[in-house]
């Protein structure tokens, strides 16, 4: 319905947010609608959709700039999709901060999944061009780089040879893509970034949404693993007593790189930089065991980790939710091991 005349929606962005909400709810602060309202969004019903109107202060002029979104909540998948013609900067200032709230997180596409989507597009449409891309390097990752690997890098490349350049940039500068503009001749032009924002740039938009669906499915697979983990109390009734025992189901993050004493310290530093405070921890030398309790300072949750040289087992402890775990996984993959995988332990 939004896309009856595609040309008028050039540069339309679809922003996907994972949520813990199945409905919009009312004005209560723990409901989606109430939470958005509390964070400065005016909400107007539009049938199945909602119009979200907010403002931000332009730093240069001090003026309040209005920004409009049209949002759809998929209650089954618990995904909130916000459509807008706002600029990337406006999105960064208005909707992206919602990822800091409890129960909401951007559709972060991990580097392996991002690579998978890119390869799928390129193999299904071999003539696809990449005219524009952004790529980053965190020196703390172990991605090989021929040139000065110790430098943090952020690159934007424009040119019709982006497809080849992406490989060259990775090889020489050790950067991984964070945003790619795909031009599939005769079909569609769109940009995908690893924070779950799809930008429509021309052609038939349904193709963009087809790939958006695939990206969503890949992220939902990860979310499913995170949500299976739990710490619940089970009642066991004996002859004269009701005992309470814990039922614990952890998940694991398996590393591509081997954890040793030196990079365990690096990992701890990176996690702390991403506002995960690690305490009550012990690094046991010799066989490299690293245990600790983690406080997610943003999502206000607590979980425990237990690590050997190949994987980290993560267990909920206090108010943990999928968004806190996803944020944690993102911190590890983005700044330590891009090929780290989230795996179920059951």
């Amino acid at each position: 319905m939004l896309l009856k005349s595609p040309d008028s929606f050039l540069d339309l962005k679809a922003i996907f947010l994972l949520t813990s909400f199945k409905t919009w709810g009312g004005e209560e602060p723990y409901a989606l609608q109430g939470m958005l309202h509390h964070h400065g969004f005016q909400i107007r019903p539009l049938g199945e959709l909602k119009e979200l109107l907010t403002t931000y202060q332009e730093p240069e002029t001090g003026r309040q700039i209005p920004v409009k979104y049209v949002a759809y909540l998929d209650g089954d998948k618990q995904i909130l999709t916000c459509y807008t013609l706002a600029t990337a900067d406006q999105i960064r200032r208005t909707i992206e901060p919602l990822s800091g709230l409890i129960g909401i997180y951007h559709l972060w596409i991990n580097p392996l999944a991002f690579d998978q989507i890119k390869n799928t597009i390129l193999s299904e449409h071999p003539y696809t061009k990449i005219p524009d891309l952004s790529a980053d390097r965190h020196p703390s990752t172990d991605v090989a780089a021929k040139l000065r690997p110790e430098y943090r890098r952020s690159m934007r490349y424009r040119g019709d040879d982006g497809r080849e350049t992406l490989e060259e940039l990775r090889h020489y500068y050790g950067v991984l893509p964070s945003s790619i503009h795909f031009r599939i001749p005769g079909l569609v032009d769109f940009r995908l970034n690893n924070r779950g924002i799809f930008s429509y740039l021309g052609g038939s938009p349904e193709y963009m949404f087809e790939y958006a669906d695939r990206a969503v499915e890949l992220v939902l697979q990860v979310r499913k693993i995170l949500e299976q983990s739990k710490l619940e109390i089970i009642d066991i009734v004996t002859e004269r007593k009701r005992l309470r025992v814990s039922h614990v189901v952890p998940f694991a993050i398996s590393f591509k790189r081997t954890l040793d004493i030196a990079n365990t310290e690096l990992l701890i530093d990176e996690l702390e930089r991403n506002e995960f405070a690690i305490y009550n921890s012990a690094v046991m030398q010799g066989s490299v065991y690293f245990d600790g309790t983690v406080l997610d300072e943003v999502k206000k949750s607590v979980f425990t980790i237990s690590t050997d040289e190949h994987r980290m087992i993560v267990l909920p402890r206090y108010r943990t939710s999928f968004d806190s775990f996803l944020r944690f996984y993102e911190a590890i993959a983005e700044s330590f091991d891009p090929e780290a995988k989230c795996v179920a332990t059951i």
Partner: protein, 362 residues
């Protein structure tokens, strides 16, 4: 015990060269004491890791519970009493067999460890009713288990067999993730009756083959853990709880109810939780992690406290616990030790001086 004021008074009374000497001794002592506390905390955490490794297969829905019905019930069944404690209580509701497990992450004197365990086991026999109350059920058989890291298993095994003791030995290979029951003799029936294999044939078979375990951290502390460990764990949860309810002060019952939700303390009674909360408050106030806001109120249940950390959020709070605890205790012991050492040096010096003056006189 020497108070900080005593130390300062003594220091102020000294002439500059002696003051310098005392300061040098104190600095050295402070580093030594900090290292000792750090080592104690680390040893405590290695022990906790072994306990977690040991209980994992016995947790709800895990291998040994599903296959044999043996379920991890709680830690430290004799917490708060004079009876020497075991680390873990495991119970089989159908056969009414209880396993009392002691975990040893390192062993320096195997003979002593094993002897002490036998004493614990005898003490447990005399407190069967208490154990029955804990599980709310009759107990047909109690079995004593020592669980140690694989590297120490053979030393423990020699002691058990040499002294013919009724102890099952579990060896924890945390690197390969296997928990194993050590076979200590060939005759299975004789070993069962000697208390060195489990009465439950299936449990014995599975453990002899080795059961997979992961060192997941489902227990974040034991009640007997280093106070610093327990404070680090609880203060964050307390801080989050206060933050979410928009409060900045709490009472002992708040801490007790927080401990009541703590999975590390499953199946602890109200009195045990109250005692532990009281202990934490005392330690916390002593090292100035908590501030007593109502010093004139005597009723502990009505007293109010706050978390005394500088602004900077919960992460800083967790980090400060360790620092404050270590600084306080390291300083206290270092002051005592440095005064003793200083006095020894001074008395030696005076003795020499006296000997010299006697020589001169004679």
């Amino acid at each position: 015990m020497l108070s900080p004021q005593d130390f300062r008074r003594l220091r102020d009374s000294l002439a500059d060269p002696e003051k310098q000497k005392l300061d040098d001794i104190f600095k050295k002592q402070l580093n030594v004491q900090r290292d000792i506390i750090d080592q104690n905390i680390l040893r405590d955490r290695e022990h906790l890791r072994l306990v977690n490794f040991c209980i994992r297969p016995f947790q709800y829905n895990e291998t040994l519970y599903v296959e044999t019905g043996y379920l991890f019930i709680r830690v430290e069944p004799f917490f708060g009493s004079a009876t020497k404690n075991f680390d873990v209580l495991i119970f089989n509701q159908s056969s009414k067999v209880m396993l009392l497990v002691e975990c040893k992450s390192s062993v320096s004197d195997a003979e002593r460890e094993v002897r002490e365990l036998v004493q614990c086991s005898e003490a447990a026999d005399s407190r069967s009713r208490h154990l029955e109350e804990l599980v709310g059920d009759a107990i047909n058989i109690k079995e004593t288990v020592i669980c140690t890291n694989a590297a120490y298993a053979s030393r423990i095994k020699s002691c058990i067999t040499a002294n013919d003791l009724p102890i099952c030995l579990w060896s924890a290979d945390q690197t390969s993730g296997i928990l194993l029951l050590e076979k200590q003799g060939q005759d299975v029936n004789a070993e069962i009756s000697r208390g060195r294999l489990h009465h439950d044939g299936k449990l014995t078979r599975l453990l002899l083959d080795g059961v997979r375990s992961e060192g997941i951290r489902s227990l974040t502390f034991l009640p007997s853990s280093h106070p610093c460990t327990i404070l680090e764990e609880t203060i964050t949860l307390l801080g989050l709880s206060l933050e979410s309810s928009n409060r900045d002060r709490f009472r002992l019952p708040d801490l007790t109810s927080l401990l009541n939700r703590e999975s590390s303390l499953s199946n602890f009674g109200d009195q045990e939780l109250w005692n532990l909360a009281q202990h934490l408050l005392n330690v916390g106030v002593e090292v100035q992690i908590f501030t007593d806001l109502t010093p004139t109120v005597d009723d502990l249940g009505r007293k109010e406290f706050s978390i005394s950390t500088r602004p900077g959020g919960l992460a800083r709070m967790a980090r400060e616990v360790r620092k404050k605890y270590t600084d306080f205790h390291a300083r206290r012991i270092a002051e005592e030790n440095s005064v003793t050492e200083f006095q020894k040096i001074v008395s030696r010096m005076y003795k020499k001086l006296e000997e010299y003056s006697q020589k001169v006189r004679s």
